[in-house]
């Protein structure tokens, strides 16, 4: 039983597959189930925040149409939307985000984000790891250097693995541009053991856990007796023995199995436990329900949850699945779909966390890999713009009701307090207690500066 609690990179790799699975079986049937998650929770620290929810707006939302409007810019720039007042005097955001406008006192906006690449793949790597090292462009060029771990992987590494619920969960399919996978979503040079535990929610299928898909019957709510459970475990052993990357799979299967066979873990994934009004409040579409699952996961102790808006940068019209990369038909898509979806789901998440007393200990970040050209292109769209874009940060004891940085009159360049993705997540990690000493002890280092105005 104790072996479960020692599931970390070295421990996992040094342990036999069968012993892990046997431990999982014992746990699953309720014999001496270790409550190591609670033990971990007892490791109180003085960090202001406990958890992070990253809403990854893949494809690059337009900053000038959301959080950094320029109503006095020429028509070729400003677009058709007007700013509306928010709950913070003097702070305006887009009229298509009315619910978020009423919550501006809960969050800070950063209007001076910038990064060094306008390629989704490389900028995505920068946004998710703080560095372009190991990033892969659309054309396949790989940036020099070892791929850094993504922010959730850093949390996983520093805090150590947990047997019942992972430290780092990613909700949504893995990220792509041009239907090619990008890098930077996982453990990077820390190894795949710190990759996120991947789950997904599709309105048509409910919760999906890819690590367990080889066992169709093994899904939350479908394990109705111990005999069935043990039968499934036997299948799991065979599958595990046949797998070429077992060291990683051992841990994932173990964790996935525990998650599905213990009450607390099952509870986290069962959206049916939520009141209908709550589910409606988040929105019955995929992103909305994923935001709801994120709240449930941090409520159960997961420390870093990344919710991917989409798997592909491209909108449905451009062979994707609804991403923000709207080079054409930008305004139609933003107005008819993206804006209200983001407004509804993010505002519901902030409200829900706040009402449950969780917002004070949970940091919520909503950001993409870059912004979009302030000047409208010839196809009623906006192209990539990495020199200046916006992000939203709330909760976790961070300052709120303010704007960090500013852009010029056309939203093209920061005019003061430029902020990089590395700065943003150096700040976020510091707020949950992962600072320079903790990073260096794990062989890492801060890649940015703490944003003074946020802490």
């Amino acid at each position: 039983v104790l072996k479960i609690g020692n599931l970390n990179t070295s421990g996992c790799c040094g342990r036999s597959r069968r012993s892990l699975l046997q431990a999982g079986a014992l746990s699953a049937v309720g014999i001496g189930l270790p409550d190591l998650l609670r033990a971990e929770a007892a490791q109180e620290d003085s960090a202001p925040a406990r958890s992070v929810i990253l809403l990854w707006l893949w494809g690059g939302p337009s900053h000038i149409d959301t959080f950094d409007m320029k109503p006095n810019a020429p028509v070729e720039y400003r677009g058709p939307y007007r700013p509306v007042a928010t709950s913070v005097p003097g702070l305006d955001i887009c009229e298509l985000l009315p619910k978020l406008a009423g919550q501006a006192h809960l969050y800070s906006l950063i209007r001076s984000l910038n990064c060094s690449s306008n390629d989704h793949g490389i900028a995505g790597t920068i946004g998710l790891t703080g560095s372009d090292r190991g990033g892969v462009s659309l054309g396949g060029q790989v940036q020099a250097g070892l791929l850094e771990p993504t922010h959730g992987a850093v949390v996983s590494r520093i805090l150590g693995a947990s047997p019942l619920l992972p430290r780092f969960v990613s909700i949504g399919d893995s990220l792509h541009q041009g239907h090619k996978a990008i890098s930077g979503e996982g453990g990077g040079r820390l190894g795949p053991i710190h990759d996120p535990f991947a789950v997904n929610y599709l309105p048509s299928h409910g919760v999906r856990i890819p690590n367990l898909e080889l066992m169709d019957e093994l899904q939350p709510g479908r394990i109705d007796n111990r005999r069935q459970l043990l039968n499934q475990l036997q299948k799991l052993k065979y599958a595990a023995d046949a797998s070429p990357s077992m060291d990683r799979l051992d841990a994932f299967y173990q964790q996935a199995f525990s998650m599905l066979t213990t009450g607390e873990s099952q509870h986290a994934f069962n959206l049916d436990d939520e009141a209908d009004t709550t589910r409606r409040g988040y929105g019955r579409f995929r992103f909305g329900q994923c935001c709801l699952m994120a709240r449930r996961l941090v409520e159960q102790g997961v420390r870093f949850v990344q919710v991917n808006w989409s798997a592909h940068v491209e909108p449905v019209e451009d062979t994707g699945d609804g991403g923000w990369d709207m080079h054409d038909r930008h305004f139609q898509q933003f107005q008819d779909r993206h804006a209200w979806m983001l407004d509804q789901s993010l505002s519901a998440l902030l409200d829900d966390l706040n009402e449950r007393g969780l917002l004070s200990e949970t940091i919520v970040v909503a950001v993409g890999e870059f912004g979009r050209t302030p000047k409208i292109n010839g196809k009623a769209g906006r192209d990539h713009w990495h020199q200046c874009y916006s992000g939203l940060v709330a909760g976790g004891g961070l300052q709120s009701g303010q704007v960090i940085g500013a852009s010029d009159a056309l939203a093209e360049m920061p005019v003061h307090t430029p902020v990089t993705p590395a700065d943003l997540f150096t700040t976020v990690l510091a707020q949950i207690g992962i600072r320079t000493p903790e990073l260096t002890s794990a062989g890492l280092q801060p890649l940015g500066q703490v944003i003074e105005g946020l802490v």
Partner: protein
């Protein structure tokens, strides 16, 4: 002749032979009937001229596909077997064809063109296309004579409104403004085209003659006004607007440009379309997911 005179005359001609429009309700509550139920996101419903069916585009994960709902049978079916996105379908005046936005996808982008679909044979034919140029021809609508269409295109570097003959030929560009012009709707008498434009700031409804002349602004309210749709008698324009902070369906009486707010739900109401009996259909998430609703026994004031 002024815009108001022309629209009033066009409306009068139709009112005389349209019994459903001969009486008006005053301050009666508007009721709505839900005609789809799966909650998936839908856009741009369009009623068949004979009122027997409605076509609409439905989103499901990574697909946008055209569907047809037949009222008598209650059956819903796809209209094509294409895998690439397709949407914004509108019926020809005789109900025998549809025009729609036809997406030709490449590895990471789409190229929109207007195609025609025969309702009888299922045959597809290109109507407004650009060869070798990635531009978007979309939001088609038929002229009431069935021989022309209006649509938007980005082929000349900005989204503008064009007309063309259904069977091909030269396009006529109607708008030339650095703003975005979108969603043309041809008047039932064939003389005018309404559309949405942000040339005055936010999106407003405008109208111009069918040759692009005499462009006039119809709405002047802060907020977005979009997706204009003519009533079949030509007296009213329905449109989506968020002037009250939320997207609702509004109806403008063209005789005096007065506007009535048809829907008041805190939900999103969008994509208005007139039915063959003068009711207004629209897409709304008032019942959780997105479905199509229709007014019941409603009459414009």
């Amino acid at each position: 002749m002024s815009l108001l005179q022309r629209t009033a005359m066009a409306g009068l001609a139709v009112v005389c032979c349209a019994p459903w429009n001969s009486c008006f309700a005053d301050d009666l509550p508007v009721t709505f009937r839900k005609i789809t139920n799966n909650g998936l996101f839908k856009q741009r419903p369009a009623w068949a001229p004979d009122g027997r069916a409605v076509v609409y585009a439905q989103h499901s994960n990574d697909a946008i596909q055209l569907y047809l709902l037949e009222f008598e049978s209650g059956e819903t079916r796809r209209l094509t077997d294409r895998t690439a996105p397709e949407y914004d379908a509108v019926y020809s005046p005789d109900g025998q064809s549809l025009l729609f936005a036809f997406d030709k996808t490449s590895p990471n982008q789409g190229d929109l063109e207007v195609y025609r679909l025969s309702m009888q044979s299922g045959e597809l034919a290109a109507v407004a296309v650009t060869d070798g140029k990635l531009s978007h021809e979309e939001s088609p609508c038929w002229a009431p004579n069935g021989k022309q269409l209006a649509f938007s295109s980005t082929k000349e570097g900005n989204q503008e409104i064009y007309t063309a003959a259904i069977d091909g030929g030269t396009w006529l560009r109607l708008t030339s403004d650095p703003a975005i012009d979108a969603h043309p709707a041809w008047s039932p008498d064939g003389t005018q085209i309404a559309f949405a434009s942000n040339r005055w700031g936010d999106l407003e409804i405008a109208v111009m003659d069918a040759d692009g002349s005499d462009l006039q602004r119809l709405t002047r309210t802060a907020g977005l006004d979009d997706y204009p749709a003519w009533s079949r008698d030509g007296q009213y324009l329905a449109f989506t607007g968020n002037r009250d902070g939320n997207f609702d369906i509004h109806v403008m009486r063209l005789a005096d440009l007065s506007v009535t707010r048809l829907t008041t739900s805190p939900a999103i109401d969008n994509f208005p379309a007139w039915t063959s009996t003068g009711q207004i259909g629209f897409v709304s998430n008032r019942d959780d997911g997105f479905d199509i609703f229709v007014t019941v026994n409603w009459h414009p004031r």
